[in-house]
Symmetry: C2
Subunit: 200 residues, 2 copies
DNA sequence: TAGGTTTCACGAACATCGTTCGGAGTTTGC
DNA sequence: GCAAACTCCGAACGATGTTCGTGAAACCTA
């Protein structure tokens, strides 16, 4: 019978504890808010004392960074899952923006962590940041692939998406007013770019 | 020679100190960020010890609220100053949005305090909040007065303004790329609403 | 199985934070 | 001139993120 080297078992258990800490951190952060996360509370939730967490994470910000990386990975995965062009640019625009706003409103805390910069001393590490950038670039490539926009239009669409998400989260969480709003915005955008294309 | 009652002199000096504290708080907050404001630092900046501040403000959040109220008053004043319709709706839209984005980007910290909710335990008092609401409603009245929009379009325009401001502040502070972006956005919006109006 | 090394959990403690308290020192009202 | 009110401040409290040293496991080597 194959027995794993003990060295791997040690690393495995360490990784499991790290994952457990991250999961507990998500729970606390979703319940109490991003800034309300306390190292002592988090430690107690996983059955440890506060200083013990520092065996797994160099600082509280390192824990935030683990959350950021996980959220960015989910974002990238979600974006990739939406990469199924139908041939109808307007419908693709709508579907993509629906997916994006849905992703953000499904977990406002994750959105806040990923796309707003609201935690006082925290900056994501370059590695974690690269993951989220990969997601954003994937979105941009997709929209550019629709063949209806020019480079400047992407800024416009980004601003539109940001504003829609922000307004949705702060004004009408859980409602579906945002669906009509997104549809209207995408129609507006589509009319804009095609109208410009049709001119000489 | 007229001599003010001493009671008024006392109140006057108290109000002067309060104003001095608020000014110093703006300075610190602009230099170090909203969340980095420390009661002890602020006290030292006005030549006091930390507990003395509590003779003037009930809590640190009360200081934030004073900043909020002052920022909201500036916002209201700025909005009112822009209430000069020219008769050209598109130009008015552009000018209004230029003014708004300029107001926000001129002082990102003020924007963050007024329109983002980024300070952990702070909620503006109803009185301060009412001032900012008055500004927003003034903007909405103005846009509605242009006679080109329907109620749903205001949400769209708000989302657009939010997104433009957010993207400008986080990506290109101080640059003028936002001018082209705002112009393009307003043109897009204008085309959208007039195009819909021209249909039966 | 025995001895040596690495890893980890914890109690104590530190600096800093917002805030409270009690008592001086000053200003005001009568 | 005296009592009341107002300011100011040193000391201290509870909570925060974090460091240090200790001791007990877990692991590797023999």
């Amino acid at each position: 019978m194959f027995v794993k080297p003990t060295r791997d078992r040690r690393a495995e258990r360490r990784e499991a504890t790290r994952a457990e800490i991250v999961d507990a951190a998500w729970e606390l952060v979703r319940a109490e808010g991003l800034a309300a996360l306390s190292v002592r509370d988090l430690a107690r939730k996983v059955g440890l004392q506060a200083p013990s967490l520092y065996s797994y994470f160099a600082s509280k910000n390192a824990i935030y960074d683990a959350l950021f990386a996980q959220g960015a990975a989910q974002y990238l995965e979600d974006v990739e899952a939406q990469l199924t062009p139908t041939g109808d640019p307007l419908q693709d625009l709508r579907a993509g923006m629906h997916a994006f706003v849905r992703f953000c409103t499904d977990d406002p805390v994750r959105y806040q962590l990923l796309f707003q910069r609201t935690i006082p001393g925290f900056e994501p590490s370059p590695e974690s940041f690269a993951i989220s950038i990969a997601g954003l670039e994937s979105v941009q490539r997709r929209i550019a692939g629709l063949g209806i926009t020019e480079p400047g239009d992407l800024d416009l669409l980004t601003a539109l998406g940001t504003g829609l998400t922000d307004q949705q989260i702060s004004n009408d969480p859980g409602g579906d007013r945002w669906i009509r709003l997104v549809d209207s915005a995408m129609e507006m955008y589509f009319t804009h770019v095609t109208h410009r294309k049709s001119r000489p």
